[in-house]
């Protein structure tokens, strides 16, 4: 194995660039004593995941602050480093050196465990995300189910944080967050079921493999099918709600409940919450990429020589930029709007999308299949959307002041 690795290192071919991390891993592992090799291999992968996505977290914070600043016509951070590029390091030092304040009446143990559980759950879902060719920690037979199962542990962590702080705002924020997460988990899972129906597998690796290949110039991603497009849009909306980001950021609405379930957290624990939230966003974007955007597959046939992990991270960064853009441009929803949207629009659309995927699967390929599927997506969308619009009375708002 080592000889082969050296060989492919010498001939710097596209394959070697693609598998560079695996080759390095094999090289390091081959120097360890025999008994520890498998353990070391896993440890290296875990370190790579934690380091890689930790770095992405740092990049995203500066990207988000700069991007939001640009949208809101201001500079954003520009003091530390070149155009504020070293701001994440300054933030990290600040959060590590700040005093850790725990409320006197807080439930100390639960208060401590909540951020740890959140970050652990956020990191463990990366185990099933294929970030490149052969680059997945475990290829579970039930990978997608694992992702959703561990994702639901986040709710418990949020509740622990909100309840243990003994603060009415944090409890309100936690209740809002849990209600929202449970409501949007239904369309999230239903919209990803279409892909599982199409591939016949819950393994993330198999799902990516099924999306390899091109017909002329169009890649075989599920995004480029009517049900896949609808599923992707539904999935991303539900993912935004699931990661508590604007316009679904009611759980932490600063103007109403200050910061939601992590008001009473400071210093390093707050940083952990921040990290957990961003990791959740990356993970769910990663799942969207795996399910709908072809995973690490190249978008164009003549670009397949670019290493696969670069494609994954390029797609991930695109989705992150979209998240930031949405945050900068959309106002926050009200609680009733949020729930109505989940149960009266997202849920029926996701269920109908399942039918569309089934129709697509059983019809012979050709233009008729495209037409029928598009009709099956567009007509319910129009009807449901119009129904929702009629319910909201768009008239001049009358203000009533508190007496």
């Amino acid at each position: 194995m080592t000889a082969l690795a050296y060989n492919s290192l010498h001939h710097a071919s596209p394959q070697a660039a693609d598998q560079i991390f695996l080759i390095v891993q094999h090289w390091i592992v081959s120097h360890a004593p025999a008994g520890l090799q498998s353990l070391l291999a896993i440890l290296l992968s875990v370190v790579a995941i934690v380091g890689g996505f930790g770095l992405l977290f740092a990049i995203t914070t500066i990207l988000e602050r700069k991007g939001l600043g640009r949208i809101q016509n201001r500079y954003g951070p520009n003091r530390v480093g070149f155009f504020g590029s070293l701001q994440p390091i300054a933030d990290a030092i600040k959060s590590l050196t700040k005093e850790d304040i725990v409320p006197q009446t807080a439930d100390k143990l639960v208060h401590l465990l909540a951020p740890i559980l959140l970050v652990l759950a956020a990191f463990s879902v990366y185990a099933v995300l294929p970030v490149g060719r052969n680059m997945v920690l475990v290829n579970l037979d039930a990978g997608v189910l694992f992702f959703f199962a561990i994702g639901s542990v986040t709710e418990v962590a949020v509740f622990m944080a909100g309840w243990s702080s003994r603060n009415k705002y944090s409890l309100l924020g936690a209740m809002r967050a849990i209600a929202q997460m449970i409501s949007y988990e239904v369309p999230l899972i239903l919209s990803s079921l279409t892909v599982i129906m199409a591939t016949g597998s819950l393994s993330t690796v198999t799902i990516v493999e099924k999306q390899a290949g091109f017909s002329r110039i169009l890649p075989h991603w599920f995004l480029f099918t009517p049900w896949g497009f609808a599923g992707f849009v539904l999935f991303m909306i539900a993912a935004t709600a699931e990661s508590n980001r604007s316009p679904f950021d009611l759980p932490e609405g600063e103007s109403e409940i200050i910061a939601g379930y992590y008001i009473e957290y400071s210093g390093f624990k707050f940083a952990l919450f921040f990290l957990g939230e961003y990791l959740g966003m990356f993970a769910i974007s990663g799942l969207a990429i795996t399910l709908f955007l072809g995973g690490w597959n190249a978008p164009l046939p003549f670009l397949t020589w670019v290493p696969s992990y670069l494609w994954f991270f390029a797609k991930l960064l695109t989705l992150i930029v979209a998240f930031i853009w949405v945050r900068g441009t959309l106002p926050r929803l009200r609680m009733d709007q949020l729930m109505n949207f989940a149960w009266k629009f997202m849920l029926p659309m996701a269920l109908l999308n399942l039918i569309t995927a089934a129709v697509w699967h059983f019809m012979p390929s050709g233009p008729v299949r495209w037409l029928v599927s598009i009709v099956l997506v567009v007509v319910p969308y129009t009807l449901l959307g119009r129904n929702q619009m009629h319910k909201s009375h768009l008239e001049k708002r009358v203000y009533r002041f508190a007496e």
Binding site: L145, S152, I178, E185, S201
Partner: protein, 163 residues
């Protein structure tokens, strides 16, 4: 070895769940017990069941119990029964456990270990659910829908229109 750890975790969580004074602590220990049991399922090679256990019990049932606790006011009383019925309860529990343990210990069928069945792949489970167990699956779907509507109806505020 791993089995012992997870079994101990499960039992510790379960014991804490029924004996702690604070109801929220009870639920958190219950979550620990559920998670330990999920790990036991994974050790037994039932991957689907293990993840479904976490998804349903940790992600849904425990959260549901938490909501109920927060929607009801629980006066800080410990909430055990009177001393006499407590003793009786303990006696019955010990008797039940004794019977179960004795049965397991003395069962002839359990003395020789059989080779474990092969793990069930997701493909097999899916095919079984869609072909052989299609009718039970439909019935469960109906039951869940009925339970959802029923629970919403029961828990909904009754209209305050009294003549």
């Amino acid at each position: 070895m791993l089995f012992t750890i997870f079994a101990a975790l499960t039992i510790a969580g379960a014991v804490a769940a029924i004996s702690l004074r604070n109801l929220v602590h009870s639920v958190l220990s219950l979550i620990l017990a559920f998670a330990g049991l999920a790990a036991v399922y994974l050790l037994l090679g039932a991957q689907f069941i293990g993840f479904a256990q976490i998804l349903v019990y940790v992600g849904a049932v425990a959260i549901l119990i938490v909501f109920t606790i927060l929607l009801t006011r629980n006066d800080g009383t410990f909430g055990t029964s009177s001393q006499a019925s407590w003793n009786l309860g303990a006696l019955i529990v010990i008797a039940v456990f004794g019977t179960l343990a004795w049965t397991i210990h003395s069962s002839a069928a359990l003395q020789h270990a059989l080779p474990p069945q092969p793990e069930a792949t997701m493909q097999q489970i899916g095919t079984a659910l869609m072909v052989r167990f299609a009718l039970p699956l439909e019935v469960i779907g109906l039951l869940l829908t009925a339970a959802l509507i029923g629970a919403a109806t029961i828990a909904l505020h009754e209209k305050q229109e009294r003549p």
